[in-house]
């Protein structure tokens, strides 16, 4: 168990900056999920912490010790790789024992420790097998076991579930969370999957183009996204955005589609006429006979619910999540409840909170 502190961590490849200064502090036993689209620098961040890449600037403090200049071997960090990276020429037992062997444990101690972890992961009967004789899920478990067995200060997960089929992914996701809680090891988990991000993390770090855009609990990220990027990235189906202007002395928004919505929680700063972007999640758009007409383009039945993708009179796309029974066939009327709208500045895309 250990705390992790990153201070102004930067990385450039040649003259191309990839990470523009990451700061974060993790408490002991906390699980941080780093999420973002491909190329946002999330894997690079993980590799910097692992020691597989050398930072251009900044500090990585693990348990009070700056490890930025150290070899991975000296950091006491374990990593689970995307394609597992098991040693193909070693058995499951040897794969898990390798790190312990290097640490100079006795043969008996290694056998005992590997046995315990194998039991914990349900790998007991597979210890003599080679990786190529295992299924994807079993390989994933071995990769986890190899990390767990060493009892490191920090776990790193690099999209560990992305090579598994959908069903197994759900099972392994729960298992990873359970194990991490039980062992209480501080962890960094990189993923581009927002469901993993929401369900696994104590906190989320959303990266966009090498910059941290939000660092908060999953629910806070979902309920109060810091900008339009986060708002559109977290949540499925994605949030709707509509253009508008500030009006009525800052107490309402006048949408370009001709609807005025008063703010439920208070005034927004700025002069009337300030350009805004209003976000509303598909599940919050309300079917309302007195509302705006929505021409249905496409229906996506999800089972108990249906996603309606349609066009507003001005041609703007809008998706709405409705109960299966309410699914329209050609058109429906919708309104936007004031309590559920997110207000962003149109230029910078940043969230605009109500002034107290």
């Amino acid at each position: 168990m250990a705390t992790l502190l990153l201070e102004d961590l930067r990385k450039s490849f040649g003259s191309t900056p990839v990470l523009h200064g990451i700061d974060l502090a993790l408490a002991s036993g906390e699980m941080l999920v780093i999420v973002g689209a491909s190329g946002c620098g999330k894997s690079t961040l993980l590799r910097l912490v692992a020691g597989l890449e050398v930072p251009t600037a900044g500090r990585i403090v693990l348990d009070g010790r700056d490890v930025a200049g150290l070899d991975p071997a000296a950091r006491d960090i374990a990593m689970v790789f995307q394609n597992y990276a098991l040693y193909p020429h070693m058995t499951v037992f040897e794969n898990m024992a390798y790190g312990l062997r290097i640490r100079g444990l006795t043969r008996d101690a290694i056998r005992k420790r590997v046995g315990e972890v194998a039991e914990l992961l349900g790998l007991g009967g597979l210890l003599a097998r080679k990786p190529r004789q295992l299924s994807g899920g079993q390989r994933q478990r071995v990769a986890m076991g190899r990390a767990i067995v060493r009892e490191p200060k920090l776990f790193l997960f690099d999209e560990p579930l992305s090579n598994l089929d959908a069903k197994l992914r759900v099972t392994m996701r729960a298992e990873i969370r359970r194990l991490q809680r039980r062992m209480g090891v501080t962890s960094l988990y990189v993923t581009h999957d927002q469901v993993e991000a929401m369900t696994l993390g104590d906190r989320l770090l959303v990266l966009h183009l090498g910059r941290p855009v939000q660092f908060a609990t999953p629910m806070e990220v979902f309920e109060r996204p810091a900008d339009t990027y986060v708002a559109g990235f977290i949540g499925a189906p994605a949030m709707n955005f509509l253009a508008g202007r500030l009006g009525h002395g800052g107490s309402a928004v006048e949408l370009d589609i001709g609807v005025t919505i008063p703010f439920a929680d208070g005034r927004r700063p700025g002069p009337d006429g300030r350009k805004l972007t209003i976000g509303i999640r598909p599940e919050h758009v309300q079917p309302d006979p007195a509302g705006l007409a929505l021409q249905v383009d496409l229906l996506e039945p999800l089972g108990s619910e249906t996603v309606v993708i349609g066009r507003l009179p001005g041609g703007e796309m809008l998706s709405v999540k409705v109960a299966k029974a309410d699914a329209p066939t050609e058109a429906m009327q919708v309104s936007f409840p004031a309590a559920h709208i997110h207000v962003f500045d149109a230029e910078a895309g940043l969230r605009l909170d109500a002034t107290a």
Binding site: L52, P72, F81, N83, A85, L86, P88, H89, G99, R146
Partner: protein
């Protein structure tokens, strides 16, 4: 899944394989048959009459101490050339595999020697090592070493080993570099995370995954050093001084072409042919083997 094409009749398939069959017959089966026949004959000193003697040439060969010596010499030579060229190539490949500036240029330089003809390479080595005109040879003599590979058998052996190994380093380098690059980066990184460093990591992770390539090269290098080094040795020392660098192939040439003992020379060729066949079978075995058991 194996895909088979079924031809109607026999004429078309025969026609399609005919060119290859012709080549094999003309350039392999015919001369090989000739060699086997010649190996069982003996000509009189004037070359007028040839008589059939069965396996007598072979019996003579293996009771000839000179031939047995040549076998021993060839074993030493092959082992040394293989070890030296593979060891050096592995070292270079490991360094070329790293992220370094000018890597492409460095690799091209290492691959070049493969394109040099054996005789040309031999001349280059003469220019370096000749006791009177060679750069290194003159320097050695000035430094007080009695360097003259034209008189000293051990030195001559060293020279042909180094020259032969040098030519093969490129070939080994290409294969070993490709082998190293086919090892997934993540596996090496996993070993780094597990705390494995330098030599230990190389020995426990890299080398085992490189073994299929190493086995393959081992066979190729043995074949090369046993049979393909004739040009280099002939140009450097002609098998001398005395018989100090007379490997089996050089002896075939000397006995057959120089001393005109066709029967014995043919018998030696047949023995070598058997050797090549054994090594080739081994090579196919390893090529067919699944990578990374």
């Amino acid at each position: 899944m194996e895909r088979r094409t079924i031809f109607p009749g026999i004429a078309l398939p025969m026609l399609l394989v005919l060119p290859q069959l012709l080549l094999t017959v003309v350039f392999f089966l015919w001369p090989a048959g000739q060699a086997i026949w010649s190996s069982m004959t003996r000509a009189d000193p004037f070359g007028i009459r040839t008589q059939f003697v069965g396996l007598e040439n072979f019996a003579d060969l293996f009771s000839d101490p000179l031939y047995v010596d040549s076998i021993g010499r060839t074993v030493v030579f092959c082992a040394a050339v293989t070890a030296l060229s593979m060891g050096l190539a592995l070292l270079l490949a490991v360094y070329a595999d790293r992220e370094i500036r000018g890597r492409g240029f460095y690799r091209i330089l290492l691959i070049w020697p493969y394109a040099v003809a054996p005789a040309v390479s031999a001349v280059l080595w003469i220019l370096l090592l000749h006791p009177q005109i060679g750069l290194v040879g003159r320097w050695l003599n000035r430094a007080g070493v009695q360097w003259n590979y034209k008189l000293d058998g051990t030195q001559a052996m060293l020279v042909v080993i180094v020259a032969s190994a040098w030519k093969q380093v490129s070939y080994n380098f290409i294969f070993l570099l490709a082998g190293l690059q086919s090892i997934p980066r993540a596996v090496i990184e996993a070993a780094r995370m597990d705390g494995a460093k330098g030599w230990f990591r190389f020995r426990t992770v890299v080398l085992p995954l490189l073994m299929p390539t190493v086995f393959f090269l081992l066979v190729v290098n043995l074949v090369y050093s046993a049979f393909d080094t004739f040009g280099t040795i002939q140009a450097l020392t002609q098998g001398g001084p005395g018989k100090a660098t007379e490997t089996l192939v050089v002896k075939v040439y000397r006995d057959g072409v120089v001393n005109l003992d066709i029967g014995s020379s043919a018998a030696q060729s047949v023995v070598l042919m058997l050797g090549v066949i054994v090594l080739t079978v081994l090579q196919f075995r390893f090529l067919g083997r699944k990578v990374a058991e």
